[in-house]
């Protein structure tokens, strides 16, 4: 098990290296002089020189990258000219609310996906299965920002079920404020979850031990809960891990739509205010988050499925 974890960690190193290069290159995509773009047209030459120095723009390309890494080692990823704070503080202040939203959305997503996927798998190739698949094929094309606006109209304005806007004052109030955004994100990811869970359940249903269980006269409910769902959920976890990027993409849009002060709305605001250092850092942090989640899902998979850890 420890060897497995060590091996996985070792595989991550080149990816982290590559991700840092991509993030480093981002600012260099800006047409013209990035320092001028960051500061605006009316910046003084002294200020421009200072930012050029901070970015290492006067150095050869490979030295610029080392410079970037050197700064990164001190947690220095530049500062925001809009918020007047450094990228690190600005981003990590907003991470908890984003993570809460993602976890909440994933939970609601599971609550939606498990019953539908189970029903579709059990009634495979019947009208029920076709109807569920068709419904979720339609769901996949719903733009999340549109769904957010429509749900807000229906459930917050027409029927005053949920609070609208912001993240609330902590505790239950936060949960109440986050329910509608989380539901929107959950519906956004549900087609992928239903599809993956349905096919992994079908695979389990076709396996010999289920046939044996049926032949032995196990009650279908027992079979479903303690055999099918348990074994079907394991591959499902890796699907959830693989699609965490899709989940994060949805979260970013929804944070901005509902005015939730998380990393996603920070990213969009920074893009709109041309706060390049923040865009760069948030992109880097979100990529690290994906890598971390993928590592955790692999480990969870290894723990849940003993066959993996012995490899």
């Amino acid at each position: 098990m420890i060897r497995y974890i060590a091996g996985r960690l070792l595989l991550i190193l080149p990816v982290l290296f590559g991700v840092s290069i991509v993030a480093f290159m981002l600012i260099r995509l800006i047409p013209g002089n990035p320092a001028v773009a960051i500061l605006g047209e009316r910046a003084t030459p002294e200020l421009i020189a200072r930012v050029e120095n901070q970015l290492g723009l006067n150095l050869p390309f490979w030295q610029q990258y080392l410079h970037f890494l050197g700064n990164a080692r001190h947690g220095d990823f530049g500062a925001s000219f809009y918020y007047g704070q450094d990228a690190w503080t600005l981003t990590f202040e907003r991470i908890p609310i984003t993570l809460t939203l993602i976890a909440y959305a994933a939970t609601i997503g599971l609550v939606i996906a498990v019953p539908f996927a189970t029903l579709a798998a059990v009634r495979r190739e019947t009208v029920v299965d076709h109807a569920i698949r068709l419904a979720f094929t339609a769901t996949i094309g719903i733009p999340s920002f549109w769904l957010g606006i429509v749900l807000a109209l229906l459930l917050s304005v027409k029927v005053r079920l949920f609070a609208l806007g912001g993240a609330g004052a902590g505790g239950f109030d936060t949960l109440w404020h986050l329910t509608l955004p989380a539901l929107t994100i959950a519906l956004h990811i549900s087609p992928i979850l239903v599809r993956a869970l349905r096919s992994s359940l079908i695979e389990v249903m076709d396996s010999d031990y289920v046939t044996t269980g049926l032949a032995m006269g196990l009650r279908p409910v027992t079979l479903l809960v303690s055999y099918l769902l348990r074994n079907g959920l394991t591959p499902f976890i890796s699907v959830l891990g693989l699609n965490v990027g899709w989940l994060i993409g949805g979260t970013i849009i929804i944070e901005q739509v509902f005015g939730i002060p998380g990393v996603g709305s920070l990213l969009i605001t920074s893009i709109l205010t041309r706060d390049y250092s923040i865009v760069q850092f948030v992109t880097l942090v979100l990529a690290f988050l994906v890598i971390l989640v993928n590592l955790l899902t692999d480990l969870a998979y290894a723990v849940l499925d003993p066959r993996v850890s012995f490899q």
Binding site: P14, V150, L272
Partner: protein
């Protein structure tokens, strides 16, 4: 055996798809795509009004006989604008698939055919790009290059080719040792000829199937950028832009937001329907 090999190429899939019984979802999907495409292409002929003609006296009119989908805050006919927007959004989906598809297929063929270090290098690049959430990386690139449709295409091309390269590379790696490739090599055919004439038709189908779902992803991404003011710029009609413009009137005039959203959902639904049925057929042919 011969038949199975032939059937995994695009021509084989088409033949199989047309013959397959009860493939109503494929037919409905194709008919739907055709209808949406025709409505968008012939928008100037079909649409009752000018997409940018202002009619402030008739602003925010609910749907009625003269304005089927109502009018927006500037009195423009929403039905007309939804049709015109379709031209932009279908273009986003098409270009967003074709450029990355070509890039990814070429790179994937090379890596999969030669294996060795080109393949190892591509493997690392794929790992790195897929570590970024798709939408985040597209947004970040557009943020640096500046808003607009052209920069959106650049961003999509830089990000999505990786998905196609991964698919084609995997397929090529498994096919490169097959008899017909070895036969072509022993006949002294050039590598380019083997890659594009013999390998390509046998590895392209999964990439094309992925292209269907990628089309939907691109439309959603393009509309999201339009919604945030980073994609197509007003007054050009684009579904995401229209939703953004109608947002402030959602309580009094929900139709301004509803119809462009429905257009995205309907278009995506037909494309997904075709994508799903084609991937079903492919799975059966291969099984």
């Amino acid at each position: 055996m011969m038949n199975a090999v032939a059937a995994a190429t695009p021509a084989g899939i088409v033949r199989r798809g047309l013959r397959a019984p009860g493939r109503w979802s494929l037919r409905v999907g194709l008919a739907g795509i055709f209808a949406v495409g025709a409505l968008a292409s012939f928008a100037p002929l079909v649409a009752p009004y000018d997409p940018t003609a202002l009619g402030l006296s008739a602003a925010l009119t609910p749907p009625n006989g003269a304005h089927w989908f109502g009018t927006d805050q500037l009195g423009r006919d929403i039905f007309t604008r939804v049709l015109y927007a379709g031209r932009i959004d279908l273009q986003i989906g098409t270009i967003g698939v074709i450029i990355p598809l070509i890039m990814g297929v070429v790179v994937g063929l090379f890596a999969g055919y030669y294996a060795g270090w080109p393949d190892a290098l591509l493997g690392r690049v794929i790992d790195v790009v897929t570590a970024f959430p798709f939408l985040v990386l597209v947004l970040a690139i557009v943020a640096m290059l500046g808003p607009g449709l052209r920069n959106f295409y650049i961003a999509i091309s830089l990000v999505s080719w990786v998905a196609y390269a991964r698919i084609v590379r995997g397929e090529s790696l498994s096919v490169r040792g097959r008899g017909y490739i070895l036969a072509a090599k022993s006949l002294g055919y050039s590598d380019a000829r083997i890659m594009f004439r013999h390998l390509l038709p046998n590895v392209i189908v999964p990439a094309l199937v992925f292209g269907m779902s990628d089309f939907v992803l691109d439309i959603l991404a393009g509309a999201s950028l339009g919604f945030f003011g980073l994609g197509v710029q007003p007054p050009t009609a684009e579904w995401g832009v229209m939703i953004a413009e109608g947002r402030n009137f959602i309580i009094t005039a929900p139709w301004v937001v509803i119809f462009p959203g429905v257009a995205i959902i309907v278009t995506s639904f037909f494309v997904s329907l075709v994508g799903d049925s084609v991937s079903d057929i492919v799975r059966r042919v291969r099984a």
